[in-house]
Assembly symmetry: C2
Homo-oligomer: 206 residues x 2
DNA sequence: TTCGGAACTGCAACGTGTTTCTATTATGAC
DNA sequence: GTCATAATAGAAACACGTTGCAGTTCCGAA
């Protein structure tokens, strides 16, 4: 499932001693493992604490709620994916082709681990205002991934995408998230999701 | 599961004696009142039972979980709105104008009671597979409302909308729901929501 | 009217997210 | 190396969704 991340010295965002970073990593690893094995309900705070080898109070010191924990796990998952995939430009000759390619890949990836996806998606959707920060991180990741796909070769690191492109990316990510929710709750098949997204992308990018 | 019942005269959907319909109504009233006063967290099953003047076990007999309860409340809210608004054709000369009109109205309505909207929206998003039936009802209500707006005067009761129109309606309702979630979680202002929806509608309907 | 089963009440109990508290351990300044 | 402070462990307790159960009431059929 996960490639182990080296006990690296520098994380993206600083924050804490090596021991603390290690605890944080262990906690997120345990969260993802439990989510992957049994979905949202299997991510029980006592179980996460035990598997990460920290006390329950410590878990809550790092993540103030189960939802914070799962949304952070989602952010890290995206981050890891981006690190691996984000190197080479997205294949495809038109914006729709590229966006459809990327979403198809991402969707397949998530559907490959239904339990994990269920846990992360439901947490994301259930989050309330107190999780705004973590949610925002994920939102930015999504927007970046999509504007990058829209621009294709023309994309340059660090450049602000146009308002138009951001608006389009947001619409597409809304549809994608809703489709994932439908799939997670058993209201739509994998094929339904793929079709629906493709339709939406074609409607929006033309 | 019900065989015929003699007593009751007419409800929309059969189901139960007058006393049972009354209990169901009281429960949903209590749910909406509590949600309106304190949002999702304030809808506590014991409190709902007490306010509806039924035993806790009875509440669970009518609605097998808090999520079922809240999604059913959402369905009834929509239904009530439709009954009131659904008479006259939607004003506006183009599909986008009509859809924007309807969504603007609906959004304003929901934003007028932030707590209630928070409760209903979060429940809808958190629902798992066991709530599929109730969710489907709400989905149909949304689709109907939107295809009706798209067609405008051309809409005729009972006629199946085209696949194209349904696909468009689904994209728009995805965006609308996501926007509501953003608003509920404090990540977007009322104005943001209006702008985002308008952008999406213009993109999709052209 | 009487009877049998379904529906309802009241209440206790359980599971899991969350909080709280004390004792212990790690960390960093001096 | 010593000490003050922060971080952690361990465990109990609380809150609320949910379940289970014994006794009571309601309702339709005979």
């Amino acid at each position: 499932m996960r490639i182990l991340t080296t006990t690296n010295s520098l994380t993206t965002d600083d924050l804490g001693s090596a021991a603390q970073r290690d605890r944080r990593r262990r906690i997120l690893d345990a969260t993802i493992a439990l989510a992957s094995s049994g979905g949202f309900d299997a991510v029980q705070m006592r179980a996460v604490a035990e598997q990460a080898d920290v006390a329950l109070g410590t878990l809550y010191r790092y993540f103030p709620s189960k939802i914070h924990l799962l949304v952070s796990a989602l952010a890290r998952t995206f981050e890891d994916t981006q690190t691996i995939v984000g190197r080479k430009p997205v294949p495809g000759d038109t914006p729709s082709e590229r966006v459809i390619y990327v979403l198809r890949r991402a969707t397949r990836g998530m559907q490959g681990d239904a339990n994990l996806t269920e846990a992360l998606t439901r947490a994301f959707m259930f989050a309330d205002a107190s999780v705004a920060t973590e949610i925002h991180v994920v939102g930015m990741q999504l927007t970046t991934m999509l504007t990058r796909s829209i621009k294709g070769e023309a994309y340059v690191e660090g450049e602000q995408p146009s308002d138009e492109d951001v608006a389009i990316a947001r619409v597409i990510s809304d549809v994608w998230l809703s489709a994932l929710v439908s799939w997670v709750t058993g209201r739509a098949s994998a094929e339904d999701v793929a079709d629906h997204i493709e339709t939406a992308v074609r409607l929006v990018l033309r």
